[in-house]
Subunit: 377 residues, 2 copies
């Protein structure tokens, strides 16, 4: 039970860590990291309540959503919250099997007692809204990945929301890998619920799940159906209403992370969200050009490729899952089902720049590929 | 929807923050904070897998538990995980209504479809194991707060586990406010599941829930009953087994917090856990003596008072909930149901020292009490 162990101290702060160009988590910019590193403060009191509200206000702009919640936890927790507040156990949902994270949506839905009609999707293709429409009769909703991290494909949320609305079906979107990198207008597109997290496009450390709802989506949460205590958004509403100026959430909040989130979101809003996203798209396009020059084959059609993650086949199944370009001190990721023979490069946070793309792809070009065991982290 | 807003920058790092002596979160010691502030690393790979395992190994020693899980989220999430993995919907549990957090246990249990027999407990009294025994016939388990933060009372977990074992009932313990401050031997005491978090007795920032199970408690989780995807510990087991040396958990982990946790736990284990706890008890006793000298009335009988939080009545209901001793730059907490007319002092992390107790109680003595609005945070 209390097995003997050797205490292995964590490396001291400041030790050389590979620069992350994996598809999340990312490394934060210095100003975001400075906000993260403040001394811990209380998660209640008037000053804290204003800070929390500021974070929600900024997120509402980024997501085009009137209702936003910060849930301590990971993106998967936020996805589960979006699902369990939108659907009752026993309802039927259509879920496109877009890849590794599409399959996760199916698992989460089934854990909540939903019946699932899953829609097979080829790894190189975006979901066709007509195929969703074909499966919608009799279904209560669609649950969909916006950007599938395993393929780097962006799926057409606006078009799928449109066919769902016509069929009277609710729409829940996993935006963990798209937030702040792709256009996403929760209210305007008629999406009911969106889930995301802090450690990818928002450029912060991991630790907070984000749920955003449209007015229609919020109305669905008010339906009195069973759901876990922690994930019950009616509880989060009630705490916020009763204690808006004091402690507007029912559980302890990672305060440092909320300060970091405000710092990061403020930069995006100051720059203009459209310009921010265009810059992400330009960096991704630059990365794709460099990879193509070096003989990699990009996944998907040009119009469907995501802004924050680039997936390219490297010709044979990668026998390692995390690649470190050791000489360059840069970490990129290997392939994930259903595209195992791939590298995946994340373009988020501190390292999502043209300069880092050049350095990374140059290092790729001078490395034997796939790398040897000796080049592993 | 996208209401206009004024961007309010977070205060820069290093701004004067009151020193926290609230019952969680606490401020971390410099070595713990240094580990927390490392650049973000990937939550997978061989190096990360060793780090994660090191944290679990240390926690096993602190809790006397063979099975430990780190769940991104708050202590309340860990409580819900402990409950939903131990009991099936429809089962009957006894829950002592010990205060604010005892009531939360009742809410969590009901959200999972459990039937609850709640046991009224006076704010100044520890739960009487005989009263629990009286309610056990026909019940499947007991869910219990170890240290109730609203009263500062430690409840007799070992004795209650004993009567539960005799009745064939499972025991789940909320150790959020007791971990590392009170003796707790999950396997030895026959407790099934314990829930805790990082930001109190472990001296780290908030953001991770902790679940610990005995062998018996672990066997209960293997029962095939419905539970949320995120909280299903059989999924966490499966990921750990399948990917022990790579990514031993199903979701993104706040890596910084795990490094901080190792730094903090290492100190406790190095010093010896018994000595560590005795030191906590000495600091708490010192705090109680100082408060008594200043005319405060302590809650509970001496043998039942907790080590990490001191609750004392201040003679009239506090009209504020967070008190800042402004001249001293120290924050303490006000009363919480069922002891509203109280102050609560946390003795955790960086500020859980004799010196800080002296400074804090001296500042209390020179402040008008309750404090004026002007002394609020």
């Amino acid at each position: 039970m209390t097995a003997p162990h050797t205490i292995r101290r964590p490396p001291p702060a400041g030790i050389a860590t590979p620069r992350l160009m994996i598809p999340g988590p990312c490394q934060s910019r210095p100003d975001v990291l400075a906000a993260f590193q403040r001394p811990v403060t209380a998660h209640y009191g008037p000053s804290w309540a204003r800070t929390h509200e500021e974070a929600l206000t900024l997120l509402r702009q980024v997501l085009g959503a009137p209702w936003v919640y910060l849930l301590p936890g990971s993106g998967s927790l936020a996805i589960e919250a979006a699902v369990v507040n939108t659907f009752r156990p026993g309802q039927l949902v259509v879920i496109p099997r877009t890849g590794y994270f599409g399959r996760r949506l199916i698992e989460v839905a089934r854990a909540h007692g939903l019946k699932v009609r899953d829609l097979a999707v080829e790894p190189d293709r975006a979901v066709d809204p007509r195929h969703v429409a074909d499966l919608l009769p009799g279904a209560d909703g669609v649950i969909l990945v916006h950007v599938e991290t395993s393929t780097g494909i962006r799926h057409p949320v606006a078009d799928i929301a449109e066919v769902a609305r016509q069929a009277g079906a609710a729409v829940v979107v996993d935006a963990v890998s798209s937030i702040a990198g792709e256009e996403l207008d929760v209210q305007g597109w008629g999406v009911d619920a969106v889930a995301a997290s802090t450690q990818k496009g928002l450029g912060c450390p991991p630790g907070l799940g984000i749920v955003a709802l449209s007015e229609h989506g919020h109305a669905r949460t008010l339906d009195d159906h069973p759901r876990p205590w922690y994930l019950d958004l009616t509880r989060w509403d009630r705490e916020r209403e009763e204690s808006f100026d004091w402690e507007p959430h029912p559980v302890t909040m990672p305060t440092n992370l909320v300060f970091a989130l405000i710092a990061s979101l403020s930069t995006m809003v100051d720059r203009g969200l459209g310009e921010w996203r265009q810059e992400r798209a330009r960096v991704a396009e630059h990365c794709r050009e460099r990879l193509t020059e070096r003989g990699f084959t990009l996944v998907g059609a040009p119009a469907d490729r995501a802004a924050l993650v680039v997936v390219a086949r490297c010709g044979r199944p990668a026998d390692v899952r995390l690649h470190v370009l050791r000489e360059a001190g840069i970490a990129i990721a290997g392939g994930l089902d259903p595209v195992r023979d791939a590298i995946r490069i994340g373009l988020m946070g501190q390292n999502g720049t043209i300069e880092m793309v050049d350095e990374c792809t140059a290092a790729l070009g001078t490395n034997r590929w796939p790398p040897t065991e000796a080049s592993l982290l």
